[in-house]
C-alpha cells in the first residue's frame, strides 16, 4: 500500500514556493548569459533606484510640508499620483513585471489560499509595486517626522491603500491578458483603442469651444472624486491629524471596503485560473471547413523581395498583428503625438515664450523613433522554438535581419508619416532646413540603431510570452544597450543641431545628417554579413534562451 501524502499548511506551501523561486534564481546564475543579465539588472536597478529615491525625497519633503502647515488632506494628491502610477505604468512598461506562472503551480497540491496569496505577492514583486511602496513609506515617514502621533493612522491607511492597489492591479492585468488572449476580443479591443485615440483628438477643439462654460461643470464633479480610495486616504489622514478619529475610521473603512471588493473580484478571477482556465487564441474548436482546393495560386504581393525576406516580412507582420499587447504599445506614440499637437494651449505657450513651434517637430520625431526602436533590441523575443528554423533552413541570417528590419522600418515610416501629416495640419510644414534635417536625422538614428539592435538581439536574447501583460521581463543587457545606443545617437544629433545654431548656418544640420545617414546605411549594409557569421557563433545561446 502506497503512503498517502499529508496535507501541507498554507504558510509551508508559500515557503516552499518562495524557496523554489530562490533556487531557480540561484541556479540561473550559473549560466553566463544570466550573469550578464544580472549585471544589466543591477545597472538598470541602480538607475531606476535613483529615480525612486528622488521621488521618495520629494514625497517626504512634500508630506512634511503639508502636515506641518496643517494641510494634511492635500496628501490625497500624493495618493492619487501613486494610484495612477501603480495602475497605468505596468501597461506602459510591462517588461518590469514579475511572472506568476499559475499553470506551473497547478500541478502541485497547492491550496487555493496559498495560490491566491502568491498571486497577490507577485503584485508587490515588480518594479511598479515596489516603487509605489517605497513612496508610500516616504509619505508615512514624512508625516511621522512632522507629527509623530500620525504614524499609527498613516500605517493603517497605507497598508489598506497598498492592499487595494495590489488587488486592482492584479485584477486589471489578469483581465487584460484574458481579453487579449483571444483573437476576436483582441480585434474588438483594438477597435475600441483606435476609437479612443480618435476621440482624444476632439478634446482640444472641445476645450477651445466649450472650455469656459465646461469649467464650472468639471469643478462640480470634483467632490465625487472624494469617494475614491486615494481621496479617502487623504481625508482619513487629515481627520486623524485633526483628532477626528470617527471620520478617520470611516475613511479607513471605506478604503478597506474597496480593497475587499476588488480582492473579492480577484478571488473569483484566480479561482477560475485555479480551476484550470486555459487562455487560447480560439474560443472553441472550429467546425470542419472543407474549402475546395483552388489550383490557381494568387500572385505574390511581395514579389520584389527575395523569397526568404518576403517570408520573414509576412511572418513578422502576422506576429505583430497577433501580439495584442505589443501592437497596442505601437499605437501609443502616435496617439500621444496627436494628443500633444491638438493642445492649442501648448502651442500658444510656445508662441508666448518665443519658441518656434517648428522646433517641436524634430522632438516629436525623435520621440517616435525612441519608442518604436526599443523592441528591435530583442527582436527574437517571440520566436520561441521557431528560431531553430532559421538555422535548419538554407538561408543566410542576413535575410532574417533584412525581413525583421524591413517590417520595423515600415512601421516607423507609417507612424512618422501619420504624425508628420497631423503636425502639418495643426502647426504647418516646418521650414525646409528643419524638415530635411529631421528626415535625415531619422534615417541616421534608425539605421544606426538597427545595426546595434541586431547585434544585441543575437547577444542578449530573452524569451517573452505572446500577448501577455505580466511576466514580460526584458533582457536587462538589451535594455542597457538600447539606452546607450540611443543616448549616443541622439547625443550626436543634438550636437549637430547645436552646431547649426552656433554657426548660424540653417542648412548645416541637414547636410551633416545626410552624411551621417549615408555612413549609417553603409555601416548597416556591411554589418549584415558580419552578423550572419556572428549568428552562427551565437546560435546555441540563441536557441537555448528561446527554446527553454
Amino acid at each position: 500500500m502506497a503512503d498517502v501524502a499529508q496535507p501541507v499548511g498554507i504558510v509551508k506551501q508559500i515557503g516552499l514556493i518562495a524557496g523554489l523561486r530562490w533556487r531557480m534564481l540561484h541556479n540561473n546564475l550559473r549560466r553566463k548569459q544570466n550573469r550578464l543579465d544580472l549585471i544589466g539588472l543591477i545597472v538598470v536597478g541602480l538607475l531606476a533606484g535613483v529615480v525612486v529615491i528622488g521621488f521618495c525625497i520629494a514625497l517626504f519633503a512634500g508630506t512634511y510640508e503639508f502636515v506641518s502647515s496643517d494641510r494634511t488632506t492635500w496628501l490625497g494628491l500624493f495618493f492619487w499620483a501613486i494610484f495612477l502610477w501603480w495602475q497605468l505604468f505596468p501597461i506602459v512598461a510591462a517588461g518590469f513585471g514579475a511572472s506568476f506562472d499559475f499553470r506551473g503551480l497547478l500541478r502541485l497540491p497547492l491550496s487555493f489560499g496559498a495560490f491566491y496569496v502568491i498571486g497577490l505577492a507577485y503584485g508587490l514583486a515588480d518594479f511598479t509595486g515596489m516603487a509605489a511602496v517605497f513612496w508610500l513609506i516616504a509619505i508615512v515617514l514624512g508625516a511621522a517626522a512632522a507629527k509623530l502621533s500620525l504614524l499609527p493612522p498613516m500605517i493603517l491607511v497605507t497598508v489598506l491603500f497598498v492592499m487595494f492597489n495590489v488587488a486592482v492591479e492584479r485584477l486589471v492585468g489578469s483581465w487584460v491578458e484574458r481579453v487579449l488572449a483571444q483573437r476576436r476580443s483582441r480585434e474588438l479591443f483594438f477597435a475600441g483603442f483606435i476609437l479612443l485615440v480618435v476621440l482624444l483628438q476632439l478634446i482640444g477643439p472641445l476645450a477651445d469651444r466649450y472650455g469656459d462654460s465646461a469649467g464650472p461643470w468639471l469643478v462640480s464633479l470634483l467632490p465625487y472624486f472624494g469617494y475614491f480610495p486615494a481621496s479617502l486616504a487623504g481625508r482619513a489622514v487629515g481627520s486623524a491629524s485633526a483628532g477626528d478619529y470617527r471620520a478617520f475610521l470611516l475613511g479607513a473603512a471605506g478604503i478597506a471596503c474597496y480593497a475587499a471588493f476588488f480582492g473579492g473580484l480577484l478571488w473569483l478571477r484566480f479561482a477560475a485560473q485555479f480551476r484550470g482556465e486555459e487562455l487560447s487564441e480560439t474560443p472553441a474548436p472550429e467546425r470542419a471547413i472543407r474549402d475546395p482546393i483552388n489550383r490557381e495560386a494568387p500572385a505574390d504581393a511581395l514579389g520584389l523581395l527575395s523569397p526568404e525576406v518576403a517570408a520573414m516580412v509576412r511572418k513578422e507582420f502576422r506576429y505583430l498583428l497577433r501580439n495584442g499587447f505589443a501592437a497596442v504599445l505601437l499605437l501609443l506614440p502616435p496617439a500621444l503625438v496627436f494628443t500633444l499637437i491638438s493642445q492649442s494651449s501648448l502651442l500658444q505657450f510656445m508662441g508666448s515664450k518665443g519658441i518656434s513651434p517648428e522646433l517641436f517637430f524634430p522632438g516629436l520625431m525623435a520621440y517616435i523613433v525612441l519608442i518604436l526602436m526599443t523592441p528591435a533590441y530583442n527582436s527574437f523575443a517571440y520566436e520561441n522554438a521557431g528560431v531553430q528554423t532559421y538555422f535548419t533552413a538554407p538561408l543566410r541570417f542576413r535575410d532574417v535581419f533584412l525581413g525583421k528590419n524591413f517590417v520595423q522600418v515600415c512601421l516607423i515610416v507609417t507612424e512618422l508619416t501619420l504624425c508628420i501629416a497631423a503636425f502639418c495640419y495643426r502647426v504647418g510644414l516646418p521650414s525646409a532646413p528643419i524638415f530635411l534635417a529631421a528626415l535625415a536625422a531619422i534615417i541616421f538614428t534608425v539605421v544606426g540603431q538597427l545595426s546595434i539592435a541586431n547585434w544585441s538581439s543575437l547577444s542578449f536574447p530573452r524569451k517573452l510570452a505572446f500577448g501577455q501583460v505580466h511576466g514580460q521581463r526584458q533582457s536587462r543587457m538589451a535594455v542597457l544597450i538600447a539606452f546607450a545606443a540611443q543616448i549616443l545617437l541622439f547625443g550626436i544629433s543634438s550636437l549637430v543641431l547645436g552646431l547649426g545654431r552656433w554657426t548660424g548656418d540653417r542648412w548645416l544640420p541637414a547636410k551633416a545628417f545626410v552624411l551621417l545617414a549615408a555612413a549609417a546605411i553603409g555601416g548597416y549594409v556591411s554589418s549584415l554579413d558580419a552578423l550572419t557569421s556572428y549568428a552562427e557563433k551565437k546560435k546555441e545561446n540563441l536557441i537555448e534562451a528561446l527554446c527553454r
Binding site: E281, P285, A311, K315, R322, A385, G386, T392, P394, F466
Partner: protein, 262 residues
C-alpha cells in the same frame, strides 16, 4: 556521386567538462531508414543537432550527401529536412501560414509553396482548421505539421527526432507508409525514437550510442547475428539494445528498494 548520405569522422561535442558526443564515426547510405538509438542522455539529440546545423561540433567532420557541412552549409541545408526536438514551430501562425513560410525559406516559388501546402495539410488531416493557431493544435497535430514542414521542399535526407510521439495510430500509419515510399525513392531517413518496436519495424539499419560513444552500427540482421538469443527464437531489437547498452546491477537494486511504492 557518393553512395553515402551521412558520414561523420570523429564527431565530438563537449559541454565544459562533459563530452556529450565522443568521436562518433557514422556511416549511413543513401536510401537507408536509419534508427539512432540510445538511453536518455546518451548523445542522440546532440548528434542530430550537429547534423542539422543547430549545434557546432567541438571537433570532427560531417559530410552530408558528399558535401562537407562546414564549407557547404547552405547547400546541405537545402537538401535536408528536420523535425527537431521541440518541433521548432512558430506557434502564432496558422498551419498553412507556417508551411508557406517554410516553403519560401527553402527557396520554393510562391505557386509551388501554396500547392504543396494544400496537399500536405490534406494529407496530414490538418486542413479542416484553417484559422487555428499552431499554439491551439494538439501535440499530435503539431507533430504532423512539423513533419509536413520538414518534407515540403522534397529533402534528400530527413532527420526526425521522435517523430511519432503523440501522433494518433491512424496518422502514424499514413506517415509510416509515406516515409517508406520516400526511402524507396532514395530519400535517407535518420530517426531517433525511444519506441524500439517502431524502429525495428521501420528501420533497416541502426546505430546505438551510449555515454556519447557509438557502440554499435549496422543492419538489424548484422546486430542480431552478434547477439546470442534463445535457441529457436528471433532476437528482438529490445534484446539487442539491452545487451549492448546493458543495465547495471546497482540500478536494479535501487528499484527493488522502492518498497513504499508497492
Amino acid at each position: 556521386m557518393t553512395d553515402l548520405a551521412i558520414v561523420t569522422e570523429k564527431l565530438t561535442r563537449r559541454f565544459g567538462a562533459l563530452t556529450a558526443v565522443d568521436t562518433v564515426d557514422l556511416r549511413v547510405r543513401s536510401g537507408q531508414f536509419f534508427g539512432f538509438l540510445g538511453p536518455n542522455g546518451a548523445g542522440k539529440s546532440t548528434t542530430i543537432k550537429m547534423l542539422t546545423g543547430l549545434l557546432a561540433p567541438t571537433s570532427g567532420r560531417m559530410q552530408l550527401l558528399g558535401l562537407d557541412f562546414s564549407s557547404h552549409t547552405v547547400a546541405v541545408k537545402r537538401q535536408i529536412g528536420v523535425v527537431p526536438e521541440g518541433m521548432g514551430l512558430f506557434e502564432r501562425l496558422t498551419g498553412a501560414e507556417y508551411l508557406n513560410f517554410v516553403g519560401r525559406m527553402y527557396g520554393l516559388d510562391h505557386a509551388t509553396t501554396l500547392q504543396r501546402t494544400r496537399e500536405l495539410l490534406e494529407f496530414m488531416q490538418l486542413a479542416d482548421r484553417p484559422k487555428s493557431m499552431i499554439a491551439d493544435y494538439s501535440h499530435g497535430m503539431q507533430k504532423k505539421l512539423a513533419l509536413a514542414a520538414a518534407v515540403i521542399h522534397g529533402p534528400r535526407i530527413l532527420f526526425l527526432d521522435e517523430p511519432f510521439e503523440g501522433v494518433d495510430a491512424l496518422a502514424a500509419g499514413a506517415l509510416k507508409a509515406l516515409l517508406g515510399r520516400m526511402t524507396a525513392r532514395g530519400v535517407t531517413i535518420f530517426l531517433t525514437s525511444h519506441v524500439l518496436e517502431i524502429v525495428e519495424r521501420l528501420c533497416s539499419h541502426v546505430g546505438i550510442i551510449h555515454q556519447g560513444k557509438l557502440v554499435a552500427q549496422g543492419s538489424i540482421e548484422e546486430l542480431r547475428a552478434g547477439v546470442a538469443g534463445k535457441e529457436g527464437s528471433k532476437t528482438t531489437l529490445e534484446q539487442i539494445f539491452l545487451s549492448i547498452v546493458g543495465q547495471s546491477g546497482t540500478e536494479r537494486a535501487q528499484i527493488e528498494e522502492l518498497s513504499w511504492l508497492t
